[in-house]
């Protein structure tokens, strides 16, 4: 009981104590490797990315056009009904400028990431990707139009990174 507990346990260790070898530690690097099957829907998505196109799946019951595609509609819980291409342009739903790399080390130049609602997909069907060709991220706005910048066909490998990034559409950038 908070009031009644006289002493809370826990022995703090300072970073220096570890550096100086005062705290015994056992180091280990796990060997955890996987090869995930991409499955029916995402395999098709990746194959289409290689061709420079973005494919969505459709559900006739709720009428949604879904990106990334799936073989089942999670809301209607039934198989999806077909495939359709959506555009490689879209609208920024939300964005961030990250000064942190994946391992939390600090970056000099931020990575700009955004959720992009793709044109031709149902409302709010976004994908996450990076934003490039922006001089100052403070110029970015929610609602701004962007377009995909693809790797050259010979460099594409059927991966989400076949799109290098999205960049602001010219007309929108000059507004």
């Amino acid at each position: 009981m908070s009031e009644k507990i006289k002493r809370y346990l826990g022995e703090e260790v300072k970073a220096e104590e570890i550096k100086e070898g005062k705290i015994p530690i056992e180091k280990f690097k796990p060997k955890a490797k996987y090869a995930w099957s991409a499955g029916i829907a995402i395999s098709k998505f990746l194959e289409e990315l290689k061709k420079g196109r973005i494919i969505a799946s459709t559900c006739n019951k709720c009428g949604r056009i879904m990106v990334p595609p799936r073989i089942y509609c999670e809301l209607c819980f039934k198989p999806t009904d077909g495939w359709t291409y959506v555009k490689d342009t879209g609208t920024i739903n939300t964005f961030s400028a990250s000064y942190l790399a994946a391992d939390a080390t600090r970056l000099k130049e931020p990575i700009i990431v955004a959720i992009i609602d793709l044109d031709g997909a149902s409302e709010g069907m976004g994908i996450i990707h990076k934003i490039g060709e922006v001089e100052d991220w403070k110029q970015l706005k929610i609602g701004m139009k962007v377009e995909a910048v693809w790797k050259p066909p010979e460099e594409r490998e059927g991966a989400i990174t076949d799109i290098k990034y999205f960049k602001p559409v010219k007309e929108a950038a000059t507004l």
């Binding site: 955890a32 996987y34 029916i40 999670e74 809301l75 819980f77």
Partner: protein, 385 residues
């Protein structure tokens, strides 16, 4: 307190590999079968969804994230039990008995073929300071345990090998089994010694597959299924993670779990009152050791019963009619649901060529594998009272 019944199931697999489907698609395919079997719509009719998974077996840090869509659980009440599918059964059982929930979906799967370094991951489960730095293939723990078990009980290596012969033979009759085969005692005994005294053919091989079950309260079970399978008792127990202090012969975790389940199911003499059992047999000797811990026979007696054919498919007390994990393939955290599945099939009378005549009460048992000492036991019946 409400009685609890299994009113529907779906199973995909088990197969050595499933490169054609993602784990999500595998789960979707299986869930559809289960919902069809129980005649329910997951978007409306399910109160709680439970998935049983361990992160490192999936390759994710929070696997729970990737589960709801393919089960029909978006914006519904789902959670993960980090454990075997039968711990999920125990959880579903308790949830229904609170009186707040009537329909529960339980999912467990194995996508073992997606894991490239399975043994390294098993080793990653060892105590990081005392045990892991010793290195080596972690199945040496099974070798040590088997050695002590043989030493203490006078069970023979031939008897252990006979488990493989029986289970793989049963597996031939099971369309859900990946590794059914006719192997001879000699073939098992002459297979390579991997972790003395454990032989290569005595170790089950991982397989891919998924099982989804639908559980219901007494109130609605009979309206959902013509053949509800009642959960009469469930028990589970963790002995200790410490290799240094655990009991090496008697599978104490299983004995204590069994005592809990039997008490609830009012079973006094398991061999007489239960008709057959599905017992965790990841390693052949474990079937015998677990039979004793389950009090199906006296300590040290299981090998003899097996040798005398009493646990064969047509014997007095069939053990692992499914083919067990040696025949079906080791389904990682789905192992327990593999066991449950066979019990449900047998009690529904849907076990095809391996059907045990007039089976009324079945036992399902699981263990969480190396390096754990955690087990679950359930007694099920097609008769409500």
């Amino acid at each position: 307190m409400s009685e609890v019944a299994i009113v529907g199931f779906g199973c995909s697999g088990f197969k050595p590999i499933t490169p054609e489907l993602s784990y999500k698609e595998l789960m979707f395919e299986t869930a559809v079968k289960a919902y069809e079997d129980a005649g329910i719509n997951p978007r409306k009719d399910v109160d709680v969804f439970i998935t049983c998974a361990e992160d490192y077996l999936e390759g994710f840090s929070i696997f729970d994230e990737f589960v709801p869509d393919q089960l029909g659980a978006v914006l519904r009440h789902l959670f993960t039990v980090s454990g075997d599918g039968m711990l999920g059964l125990a959880t579903a059982y308790m949830l229904i008995r609170t009186g707040h929930f009537d329909t529960i979906v339980l999912e467990a799967h194995s996508k073992a073929s997606d894991i490239l370094t399975y043994i390294d991951i098993v080793a990653f489960g060892l105590d990081p300071v005392y045990n892991r730095p010793l290195g080596g293939h972690p199945y040496y723990i099974a070798g040590m345990e088997m050695n002590r078990y043989l030493h203490d009980t006078c069970t023979t290596t031939e008897q252990c090998a006979q488990v493989v012969v029986k289970n793989k033979r049963n597996g031939i009759l099971n369309p859900y089994a990946a590794y059914g085969a006719n192997v001879t005692l000699d073939q098992v005994l002459c297979s390579e010694t991997c972790f003395y005294p454990l032989k290569k053919l005595e170790i089950s091989t991982p397989a891919d597959g998924c099982i989804v079950m639908v559980l219901a309260s007494e109130k609605i079970a009979e309206s959902l299924s013509d053949k509800p399978i009642w959960v009469k008792g469930v028990g589970w127990c963790t002995e200790t993670p410490s290799l240094e202090t655990r009991e090496w012969t008697k599978a104490v975790y299983t004995r204590m779990a069994a005592e809990m389940a039997y008490k609830q199911a009012k079973i006094n003499n398991p061999w007489m009152e239960i008709d057959f059992a599905e017992i965790h047999d990841q390693f052949a000797y474990k079937e015998l050791q677990h039979m004793e811990a389950l009090k199906l026979c006296d300590y040290g007696e299981a090998g003899k019963l097996l040798e005398d054919g009493l646990t064969n498919l047509n014997g007095e007390f069939p053990v692992n009619p499914s083919g067990g994990l040696l025949g079906m393939g080791y389904g990682l955290e789905a192992s327990g649901t593999q066991k449950l599945l066979e019990v449900v099939l047998q009690l529904r009378g849907e076990a095809g060529r391996r059907q045990i005549p007039n089976a009324e009460v079945g036992l399902a048992h699981t263990w969480r594998g190396i390096p754990t000492a955690t087990g679950v036991v359930a007694v099920l019946s097609n008769v409500k009272r």
